[in-house]
Amino acid sequence: MEPDVVRSELVLPPVMPFKKVQTGDKYPKGQSRARYWKHLKQLLQAENFLSLPPDEPNYLNIEAPPSMYPPKKYCDITGFEAPYVDPRTKLRYADPEVFRQVRNLPNEHVQRYLALRNAAVIFR
C-alpha cells in the first residue's frame, strides 16, 4: 500500500483486535455472497405480518396511505402545473414552448425524466 493511503487509514485493516470473529473468517474469500442477505421486501414477507393481530402496529401497517388530495400533475421539465401530456413520450408539459423542448429531448433523457416519478418503462 502507498504511504499516503496508510497514513490516512483509508483502508479497513483485515484483522480487528476487538472482534471475536474476523471478517475474513466470516466471509471467506472467493465465496459468492450475492444472495447472502434479503431485500426489505423479502424480509417483510418472511416476517409474516398477516398472521399477527391486525390491531398491533408493525412495520408494514404504519405505512402512510395515499393522500386524500388528488395528485397534482406537474411539468416534468419546468415543474409548473402541466395541463398536457405528450402522447409520444408520456412526459407532462406546461406550455407549447416546453413541448418543443420535450420533442427535442433524447430518449435517454425522456426515460430519466419519467424515472424521476417512477413512470419509466423498465425492460427486464
Partner: protein, 728 residues
C-alpha cells in the same frame, strides 16, 4: 447529513466497561460516542466501498467519505458505495459490519486488551423495525463484537425526549421526523411514543437531494459530471426552501417577474476565462490580405488559362474540320472523298458540317460572343437568277424541267426561310449590340454601380443554375459521388424527371389489359416513348438562355472586376479557409441556475407523488397519526397538536414550519390550537438524547444480553421496546 468527524480516539481504555457506547445508526450518517457526553466522538457517512487495490489486486474495504485523491490507487469501477440500509431498515449486515468495524476502530477499541467491545451498546433503529433485522443486528453485536448487552431505541423518540427535557416540546405531542429515506410522525403521550399511531412515508432528505441532482443534471447535461451527490447535498442545504404556497410560488416563477429573478440562485462552476486573443496587428492583416489577394489572383489566372485553353482547343478543332471540309471539296473522285471521310472518323459530309457548326458555336460561346450560326454569305445572287424555273408556268416545261422546278421551288422556300431567320438573327444581334453599347455607356458613367449590378446579376444567375443542377442531380447538390455513374442506386432518391419516368413506366405496365387498347390512335401517344426514354434529361446541346447570359456576365466581370472569382472556384477557395469557429464559452455557460428547483425539490416531502410515491405528505401525516388513535379524546389530540416537534436532518429546510402550519391547520377542526416547534439541533439531538438516556441509572433495566435473547426468543424481541421516560 452533518459534516464528517473522523479522528482516532485514544482514551478508549479510560472508560470503564460499564460505560455504554451510543450509536446513532442513521440512514445517512453513522455517529458513535460515549454515553453521557454531549457530542458523538466519530461521525461519518454510513456507506462502505469495496474497491480493488491497483498494484496488489486485493479487495479492500473503505468506509465513510475520504479524500477523493486517495482513490487513484484503487480500481473502483467494479464496486459502488453501498449503504447497509434498504429504505430505513438494515438489511446488508456485511456492510453494516464494515461500518461498525470502522466506527469502533476510530473510537479506539483497537487499543483495548479485552479482545471484544466490552461495553453495553445503545443503538438507534427505525420505529417498529422488522424483527429479523433487529435480531441480526443483535447477533452481530453479541457474536462478532462480544458486546455484553444491547439496547435498541428510536432516534426520533430520543430526539423528542432530549428536547422535552430542554422544555422545547411537551409531554404530549407529535414528533415529525424527516429522515434520510423515510419520514415519520410519531405521537407521544405522557412522554412515551405510541407506535400504533405512527405513520411512515417513504420520502426523506435523500429524495430531495436526488431530485435536485437529477433535475440539475438533466437541465445541464454538459455539467452533469460536476453535479455530484455531495454538491447537490450542499446546494440543497444552501438554497432549498419550502414554498409557503406551492401553486402561487410557481405562478411567480411562471410569470417571470422581478421577484422570481431575485429568488434565483446561481452556482458558478469553476471557469477559467480563455486567454484574451489579441486583435490581429496591421501587419498581420496586411499579410493575410496579401495572401488572399494572391490566392484570388492565382485562381483568376487559372480561370483565364482554362478559358484560353478551351478557346484554342476549339479553334484547333475548327481548323481541322475546315481543312477536312476543304479537302472534301477538292476531292473529285468519290473514292478519295470516302477515304478522307474514313480517316477523319466521320460518317458523312453532313456530319462534319454539323460538327463544324457545333464547334464554331461553342467557340463563340467561349469567347463570349453572341451565338449565331455562321451563315454562308453567298446569297447575293437574286432568287430569279438562282431559281430560273420557278417563275415559269408548269405548262411550258418538260417533265424533266418540271422535276427541276419542284426542286428549285423547294430550295427557294427553304433558303428564303433561312434568310428570314438570318434577318431575325441579325436584328437580334443589332439589339444586343445596342444593349452592349448601352451597358458600356453605363459602365463608363458609373463603373462602381455597374459592377455592383453585374455582381448581383451574376450571383442571381449562378444560384439559379445551381438550383437547376441540384434538381437535376438528385437533390444532393454537392453530389456525394452517388450520381457520378448516372445510375440511381437502391435507396437513393430520384430526381423529378426520373420520378416522372418511373411513373410513366409503371402506369404503362399496369394499364396493359385494362379496357380497350387505344394506344396509337392519337399522335401524342407516341410522344410517350420519348418521355420514357432514358436520356430525356440530356439537354446539354440545347443552349440555355440563362447559361449563355451567365457566361456573358462572367466574361464581363472578368474583364472589369479585378476581384472577381468564378463561383465554382470561389467555393474551392472557401473550403480551403479555416472552418467557422464556435462561440467562445463565457462564465454564464458555466453557471447552474437554481430557480424553481429551489422549492420544487423540497416539495417532494409534501407531495411524494412527484417522485412516484403516492402517499400522504408531511402535513397530512399528522392527521393520519391522530386518526390512528381513535381511543384518544379530542382534547388530548388538541393538546398533542400544541407540541408538533420537528426533527431529523430533512427538517432543516427553511419555511417548513410555516408550510406545515397551513397544511396541518387544514386538516384540523376550525380554530383548534396548533404549535410547531423545531428541535434545538435536528441532526444531533437523536444521538444526544440517546447519550443522556444511556447515561441514566435506569438504563441497565432496558438492556438485554445474549443470554436473554437466547432464552426469550424472537417473539420477545419483536415486542421489545424500551421505556423512554426513565430520567424525567
Amino acid at each position: 447529513m452533518a459534516e464528517a468527524r473522523i479522528a482516532r480516539q485514544t482514551d478508549y481504555d479510560l472508560f470503564s466497561p460499564t460505560t455504554p457506547i451510543v450509536i446513532d445508526n442513521g440512514g445517512s450518517t453513522f455517529r458513535i460516542g460515549w454515553a453521557g457526553e454531549s457530542d458523538p466522538r466519530i461521525m461519518f457517512r454510513n456507506v462502505a466501498l469495496r474497491p480493488r487495490h491497483r498494484s496488489t489486486g486485493e479487495t479492500v474495504t473503505v468506509v465513510g467519505e475520504h479524500d477523493p485523491a486517495l482513490f487513484k490507487y484503487f480500481d473502483c469501477t467494479r464496486s459502488s458505495w453501498r449503504s447497509p440500509f434498504d429504505n430505513n431498515v438494515v438489511y446488508q449486515f456485511e456492510i453494516m459490519e464494515y461500518v461498525l468495524d470502522y466506527g469502533f476502530d476510530q473510537l479506539g477499541a483497537s487499543s483495548s486488551m479485552a479482545g471484544k467491545v466490552d461495553h453495553p451498546i445503545l443503538m438507534t433503529e427505525c420505529i417498529l423495525n422488522p424483527v429479523s433485522s433487529r435480531a441480526k443486528m443483535a447477533e452481530l453485536l453479541f457474536e462478532t463484537y462480544g458486546a455484553p448487552s444491547v439496547a435498541f431505541g428510536v432516534d426520533a423518540a430520543f430526539s423528542y425526549k432530549y428536547n422535552q427535557n430542554l422544555g422545547i416540546c411537551a409531554e404530549d405531542g407529535i414528533a415529525l421526523s424527516v429522515g434520510y429515506m423515510t419520514s415519520h410522525s410519531i405521537p407521544f403521550l405522557k412522554g412515551e411514543p405510541l407506535p400504533e399511531g405512527s405513520c411512515r412515508t417513504n420520502v426523506g432528505g435523500y429524495h430531495v437531494t436526488n431530485y435536485l441532482k437529477e433535475l440539475l443534471s438533466l437541465k445541464y447535461p454538459y455539467h452533469a459530471s460536476s453535479i455530484t451527490w455531495e454538491k447537490s447535498e450542499e446546494l440543497k442545504r444552501e438554497h432549498c426552501y419550502v414554498a409557503p404556497d406551492y401553486a402561487s410560488e410557481l405562478q411567480i416563477f411562471k410569470k417571470g417577474t422581478k421577484e422570481s429573478e431575485e429568488k434565483k440562485r446561481v452556482w458558478q462552476l469553476p471557469w477559467i476565462p480563455p486567454p484574451q486573443e489579441e486583435p490581429p496587428s496591421e501587419e498581420e492583416l496586411a499579410r493575410k490580405a496579401a495572401i488572399r489577394e494572391k490566392q484570388g489572383q492565382r485562381l483568376r489566372e487559372m480561370a483565364a488559362a482554362k478559358r484560353s485553353q478551351k478557346i484554342t482547343d476549339l479553334e484547333n478543332e475548327l481548323h481541322v474540320l475546315e481543312t477536312l471540309l476543304s479537302q472534301l471539296e477538292q476531292a473529285e473522285q468519290p473514292e478519295v472523298a470516302s477515304s478522307i471521310l474514313a480517316r477523319s472518323g466521320y460518317l458523312s459530309r453532313q456530319e462534319i458540317e454539323s460538327a463544324h457548326f457545333r464547334v464554331s458555336q461553342s467557340l463563340r460561346k467561349a469567347r463570349g460572343e453572341p451565338t449565331g450560326t455562321v451563315e454562308d454569305n453567298a446569297d447575293n445572287v437574286t432568287s430569279a437568277d438562282k431559281y430560273p424555273l420557278v417563275s415559269i408556268p408548269d405548262e411550258m416545261l418538260t417533265p424533266d424541267q418540271l422535276k427541276e422546278k419542284k426542286r428549285q421551288l423547294f430550295l427557294k422556300t427553304t433558303s428564303e426561310g433561312r434568310l428570314r431567320a438570318k434577318q431575325k438573327r441579325s436584328e437580334e444581334e443589332m439589339m444586343r449590340e445596342r444593349q452592349n453599347q448601352l451597358e458600356e455607356e453605363r459602365r463608363l458613367e458609373n463603373p462602381e454601380l455597374y459592377l455592383e449590378e453585374l455582381r448581383a446579376k451574376y450571383k442571381e444567375l449562378s444560384e439559379k443554375m445551381d438550383q437547376r443542377k441540384r434538381l437535376k442531380t438528385n437533390g444532393n447538390g454537392n453530389g456525394n459521388g452517388n450520381n457520378v455513374s448516372g445510375g440511381t442506386g437502391r435507396g437513393e432518391r430520384l430526381n423529378a424527371a426520373q420520378r416522372e419516368r418511373m411513373r410513366l413506366l409503371t402506369t404503362a405496365l399496369y394499364d396493359k389489359g385494362k379496357g380497350e387498347d387505344t394506344f396509337g390512335l392519337k399522335d401524342e401517344d407516341w410522344q410517350l416513348y420519348k418521355l420514357m426514354s432514358k436520356d430525356t434529361d440530356d439537354d446539354d446541346d440545347v443552349v440555355d438562355p440563362d447559361e449563355a447570359e451567365l457566361e456573358r456576365v462572367a466574361t464581363k466581370l472578368q474583364e472589369f472586376d479585378p476581384s472577381f472569382v468564378e463561383r465554382t472556384e470561389a467555393r474551392l477557395m472557401q473550403s480551403a479557409q479555416e472552418p467557422p469557429r464556435p462561440r467562445t464559452l463565457t462564465a454564464e455557460d458555466y453557471q447552474v441556475v437554481l430557480g424553481v428547483e429551489r422549492f420544487r425539490c423540497p416539495e417532494v416531502l409534501f407531495q411524494p407523488g412527484m417522485v412516484g410515491e403516492y402517499q400522504v405528505g408531511l402535513d397530512e401525516m399528522v392527521s393520519h397519526s391522530l386518526r390512528r388513535l381513535p381511543n384518544l379524546d379530542s382534547s388530548v389530540k388538541d393538546h398533542m397538536c400544541q407540541s408538533i416537534f420537528l426533527t431529523g436532518g430533512g427538517s432543516l429546510l427553511p419555511g417548513l414550519e410555516q408550510r406545515l402550519e397551513t397544511g396541518i391547520r387544514a386538516t384540523r377542526p376550525y380554530l383548534s390550537p396548533l404549535k410547531i416547534v423545531r428541535a434545538v439541533d435536528s441532526v444531533m439531538d437523536a444521538w444526544r438524547g440517546a447519550s443522556v438516556y444511556a447515561a441514566s441509572e435506569m438504563f441497565s433495566t432496558q438492556i438485554f444480553s445474549l443470554q436473554d435473547y437466547n432464552e426469550k426468543g424472537e417473539d420477545w424481541l419483536r415486542r421489545y421496546n424500551i421505556v423512554y421516560s426513565l430520567y424525567d
